[in-house]
């Protein structure tokens, strides 16, 4: 296997790890916090919002936006580290 191929392979492996972490947060926020455990969280208040309800109708959406920009930042760093970025 050439050096470039090994490098591309590690790049892809690290990309998958990054995607896995971000999708893990995405999954927990969408389905754990906002649906399955919503009743428990609703016992806490965030201003006038029950917390679970806030996550389901507001917080989850803010977190999705944040996740995409976190992804853009880290994948950009990976691109540079493995020298596969666009010139």
């Amino acid at each position: 296997m050439s050096k470039k191929e090994t490098k591309d392979k590690t790049y892809w492996y690290e990309t998958l790890k990054l995607l896995g972490i971000i999708l893990g947060v995405w999954f927990v926020i969408s389905f754990g916090v906002s649906i399955v455990f919503v009743d428990t969280l609703n016992k806490i208040n965030l201003g006038g919002y029950p917390l679970g309800f806030w996550f389901a109708q507001q917080g989850s959406i803010y977190i999705y936006v944040l996740l995409i920009f976190i992804y853009i930042y880290f994948i950009g760093k990976l691109d540079k580290k493995y020298d596969v970025h666009e010139k």
Partner: protein, 602 residues
Amino acid sequence: MSLQVTIYITVGLSFALYIGLAFWSRAKSTSDFYVAGGNVSPLMNGMATAAGWMSAASFISMAGMISVMGYGGSVFLMGWTGGYVLLAMLLAPYLRKFGKFTVPQFIRDRFYSKGAAAVAVVCLLVASLTYIVGQMTGVGVAFSRFLGVSTDVGIYIGMGVVFAYAVLGGMKGITYTQVAQYCVLIMAYIIPAIFISLQLTGNPIPQLGLGSKMIGTDVALLTRVNEVVTDLGFKMYTTNIAGSKLNMVLFTLSLMIGTAGLPHVIVRFFTVPSVKAARRSAGYTLIFIALLYTTAPAIAAMAKYNLHTTVNPGIEKNIDIFAEESSIVGSKRPDWMKRWEATGLLNWEDKNDDGRIQYYNDETTDPEVLKSAEDAGWEGNELTVNADIMVLANPEIAMLPNWVIALVAAGGLAAALSTAAGLLMAISSAISHDLLKGILIPNLSDKRELLLGKIAMACSIVFAGWLGLNPPGFAAGTVALAFGIAASTLFPALMMGIFSKRVNKEGAIAGMLAGLIITLFYVFAHKGIFFIKGTQYTDLIGGPNSFFGISPEAFGAVGAAINFAVAYIVSIFTKSPPAHIQELVESVRIPRGAQDIKSSHE
């Protein structure tokens, strides 16, 4: 100036803007026509994608659905935004690197098969056509309600406007009009929300207003809404769910996967100049969408409260809501109620002949509410309200000035037209590029293909208009089908095409067909074969929602899982994709070397 004149001027100005942009951005090549020349900036593309994504359903219906469903409405909020995380990370950058014009073209090249492309074209056409029916009826309805023309005339006007910029400009014309349409629709959505948030909570930001205290009191808005609706026999606003939590999870997941797999959304990311731009553009898109989606729950709860206090002013005065003087006198009801009664979206029937309007849930199981209602001489709920009212009549309910009402009219039309145009683009490019050039007439010249693309676009508009004029009577059920098909066929095929080198032609075709068939089977069981009334066969599958209590709308996620499983198993038992395909996958995974989008079919 009268309300009607204000509406005419506002809508007229917005249309003049769209058509002006269309003339300015005419398509001169197939690259202009299919991908707007491939050099749209990420920010512009973000706005255009957001406008193309947010349909009449998002703009007009979603807040109303949340208003009715309360917490349960969160499935739409999360489902229609969370999909962008998947799209941004799993599909958009890689499909942009691949660098061709259409979604079926990726399927065709990656799975080295015209057969796979043909299946993808069929899935794309079914998903997009079912989706467009709703948009065309939405256009007709918005016109007829705001401009006082008939629904048919409304559809003809809508067809004419879309024709002007979609046929002339293709993707290029659509992109710049969608940017303008985004600006119109987001203003139209947020301005009334700011007004009602200020009126009710004193906080001008609706997202914060929803979590604030009612003005001049010490009670949170949501707490008050909960009190009011439960007093009237409705379910608790902040905890109400329809069906099981499993169903809610799968419904949300289906909408997310479906969103990421809808071709008219994916192709927008072919219009940006690089992989990096595709990623950033997905982020911007979600910001622009989030502006509307985080405002919607505020409109939902506030409009609900306003509607209840309009009909039962006793709520605001904090007196017994069952007292006679609490209910509004029918003959003194506000003008907007009379106006919307004419459209059939609102209906008052004085069941107990007391001349007053009683609006409550007469099917409640709460014995206290039933007893209070009976003691007060109420003989059933007298007001039926179509959920769309919450957005359409929202400015009138809150007594906002005429120009705000006119703006909502222009916004609703912008939402419906921008989505219709995006869908038409996906449909016509599948026909001219994938079907005609890709499969039937491979040696088509660029110039002829551009002409055929425009003809396909014109035919699609006429067909969509015809569907809008003669709605097949199943319009309501079709959105579920569009998302179900996108989720169970296109998304898994695209994702496996990028993330697996092992999935081959046989696997992809078998997977897409399995996902398509099982999803159609389950949806048709509930809604009738091809939505024909009376052909439901729920008995055959053991009653409605028999599969773990999952509703047909939530089945797309199951279809997707089946697609993944079938594709993988079939691939293992057949031979690996050839070496050049494995190289293609490797090159798609790496940003470097992304080029301008090309048309060439290998």
